[in-house]
Symmetry: C2
Subunit: 509 residues, 2 copies
């Protein structure tokens, strides 16, 4: 069985290893190598300069004071002041709290902020997360920074949040915009950071839009079967046959692989290139396609990791259900995988050993080995994937072996909470939107019920992974338009309240 | 001029040096060496075992994951379950968030918690702050832990708060008391920690009583003259002559010291022992007495640092105004100092070079050199002390010289806020009591106005430094009884709301 390090958004790894032997042929993200082209995004196409790139001298360690803590690094951020009404009018600042990858990529996939900026006359800032993109400590040298736990040790969520607070405060000071309200935005892990940022730094951000942020996917708050149950339902909701074919394929792949010449049969069936193949790698490769397709089951064509058609789960099931392929399970699975890996039709063969990482997401593995211990990869008997239970000790063994590091599985709930979140936040905190799309497997660990008047859940039954943050298109369905319009209304209310309080304070003085 | 590192509560240092030359004869707390005797406290006298002493294996560095982060140390805490109604009834847990010193000492001076515990049927826990008392990292060896910035670097407020969260969560789990509500208490720096703990860890504590916590004494939020202005007013409110005599004494001391044989005149006048004397040391020694007496201007006799009579400021001014001493300024000042340093009358001479530190408060110097940069020691023209401005660069130079460390004067407001606190918390957070006594110089940096319905300020015009937390006595004035009774009522309300929410949640499930 393949063990998956399911992490956030794009950082889904398949660690192809036999769990019983713990032999580790490789550990690493298995990403398709297509790169987002900015010109494919409408607003990026209309503007030659959607942002300027800047750097901020950031401290390595906010929480300690030993000599190494004082080392600095250059943290990258993107800034767009095209629409900003400036400091004199205390016009708002919208900040994206960067995820586990290069920040341009998240900016390009967060068109929502560009689209609402003119209405709010807002400054846009996208801050890159430490250890990703070009925001690399230890002299900007990724090899040095990723060398071992002595250097990677400074890659943590609390440090990232403190980076954001420090940078935002400094930026506002430099812009003489101390009274400009800041709203933070983020999707996926970036959404977790946005929500936590509002809760931990209310003096820096007046509100947070946390899209598809599985803040409850820690410890035992959410079922370890929840993630794959949703993927299962996604495919099953398209057709029972589609679900059954996929579910039946795993045993068939393993049986075939175990026969003499079987791996070559599989290579042929799935058009795998002439290098490494194994049943585990092949299963991992297929599962990657299924998981990401479920996550990005958007109502319009998209190109986040790979170019995909609208409603790609439906398209995959259509391929699987195609009567022309008869009972050939492998042909059906290949046709489905082809939608994910080769929608453009250009690929001649698929490289199972491809571990290219065009958006620099590899640091997530470290995060998953330290604090981001999210039990997502259990599979119930009915799962689309082979049944398996969440195995924490396996995670420990892998992390020990790979980084010589011990996970701290209770840290996130210690630092940020999560247990009984409704009770805790019922009378504490304000101004957070938790958006979730229920077709997104991550929604299993999301906040799906409003907690108070101003800590609200927006749930879209048909939605996928932070679909609300994407550029709008003319084909967007009504429910998606509604979601965005609700978000804009709520953010407007936060700002009105802020300005009202500001005026009142001025009148008193 | 003597430079003072005024820090919290008991950690007032006089760094006796000439600021112009930056020669540092010593840096260290100048504490009187009397030790609190537990049998003097009423409730401690009636119980042979007011608490059990326990230890928790705590991680050295919560926020990073390099190998050193995983080192552990034994953190001490005191626990009293005499009054606790146990986990079955979800009876509350009252936790004192320890300050910059040995925890027993704070427990002994926080009788309020012992006195209200029976009413609330509460478990009492007093957690010692890392690097103080017996909670020493690096093998429990204070010399090793305090060796230099490489080890002291792990002494910080954020680490301390994370320690408290980790310990409390573990303790509740071990007691099967996960649903018992936790209320945190603290005075002075411990009060800052209590308030910040509620704001940062609302999932761990349902409320905080933050007594005399100068959370606004950072950056430029509070005037650097505020602290000494209050001391000035304290003495001036007793008698204008008292104020004038003290104010006039500094020049006279310096003039005398500059004359041949003058230091021996001063030694004789103030009964200083036959070792080191200088005008600066003498001034520092007198100022210590005046500052602490203002801080502890309690309405009843006390024995926090030293045994003191009720209303000690009044007693000092009475001594100064005593006509029997004529115009002899030094005799007047000696009589005043004698109240603070020698109320028992046992001392034969005073040792200016005494840097004993019976409660282990020395770590505060490090904290003042890193994050606790509180501009308290400016003196306006009218100050009781010689006029001076707050000099940040001097602090930097001292810290550089002494620890080779650079202060981070903006960190506390970055991490915990403080600017525009009313605006920020008006619609964020809940269940904090900020108590301040206006005779306490630290109240200059306190929250003196209620921010919302549940973030409330209790202000006692006649109150001194966390007087509310002290054991009650039969002589307590009405205003003090009122303060405590208001605090009890508010805490009761928090608990009622918690239990109500808990029941509602149970009913739903």
């Amino acid at each position: 069985m393949a063990i998956r390090f399911i992490s956030l958004w794009l950082s889904l790894f398949f660690i192809s290893l036999f769990s019983s032997t713990l032999s580790i042929p490789r550990i690493g993200p298995a990403f398709p190598s297509s790169i987002i082209r900015a010109e494919q995004q409408p607003s990026f196409a209309t503007s030659n300069q959607p942002y300027r790139i800047k750097f901020f001298t950031q401290i390595l360690d906010h929480f300690n004071y030993h000599p190494q803590s004082y080392q600095t690094f250059q943290q990258r951020y993107l800034i767009n002041d095209t629409f900003w009404d400036g400091p004199k009018n205390n016009a708002p600042i919208f900040v994206y709290t960067g995820n586990e990858g290069e920040i341009e990529w998240f900016a390009q996939n967060t068109g929502f902020m560009f689209e609402i900026a003119p209405h709010f006359k807002a400054l846009l800032v996208f801050i890159e997360h430490r250890f990703y993109g070009e925001s690399i400590p230890f002299g900007g040298d990724k090899n040095a920074a990723y060398k071992n736990s002595s250097t990677l040790g400074f890659l943590s969520s609390t440090q990232a949040l403190a980076d954001y607070a420090t940078l935002i405060i400094d930026l506002k000071k430099n812009l003489s915009a101390q009274d400009s309200p800041v709203v933070v935005f983020g999707g996926s892990y970036g959404g977790m950071l946005a929500a936590w940022f509002r809760l931990k730094y209310p003096h820096v951000a007046i509100g947070a839009l946390a899209s598809s942020s599985p803040v409850l996917f820690f410890e035992n708050i959410t079922s370890p079967y929840g993630f794959n149950d949703i993927i299962t339902n996604d495919f099953r909701s398209e057709s029972e046959n589609c679900y059954k074919v996929i579910k039946g394929s795993w045993q068939q792949i393993e049986d075939t692989a175990n026969q003499p010449g079987g791996l070559e049969v599989l290579r042929e069936s799935f058009k795998i290139c002439k290098n490494y193949i194994s049943a585990n790698y092949l299963e991992g490769w297929l599962q990657t396609a299924l998981v990401y397709t479920a996550m990005t089951d958007y109502p319009t064509p998209s190109n986040f990791l790979n170019p995909l058609p609208a409603y790609p789960v439906k398209q995959m099931c259509k391929a699987i259900d195609d009567p022309a392929l008869g009972n050939d399970t492998f042909a059906k699975l290949h046709a489905a995988a082809n939608i994910y890996y080769n929608y453009s039709g250009a690929a001649k063969c698929f490289d199972l050993a491809d571990d290219s990482d065009p958006h620099g997401l590899g640091g997530w593995q470290w995060q998953a080995c330290t604090e981001m211990v999210m039990p997502t990869d259990g599979n119930s008997q009915d799962s689309l994937f082979p049944a398996s239970s969440w195995n924490y000790s396996e995670r420990v063994a892998i992390c020990q072996r790979f980084y010589n590091v011990q996970p701290r599985p209770t840290w996130i709930t210690t630092e940020f909470g999560g247990h009984d979140i409704e009770r805790v936040l019922k009378r504490f905190g304000s101004n957070v939107i938790f958006f979730n799309g229920l077709r997104d497997p991550w929604s299993a660990g999301g906040v799906l019920k409003s907690i108070s008047k101003s800590i609200v859940a927006i749930v879209a039954k048909e939605g996928a992974h932070h679909v609300d943050l994407r550029f709008s298109t003319s084909e967007d369905p009504e429910w998606l338009k509604d979601v965005r319009s609700r978000e804009v209304k709520i953010i407007s209310r936060w700002l009105s309240q802020y300005y009202h309080t500001l005026e009142t304070a001025f009148n008193i003085n």
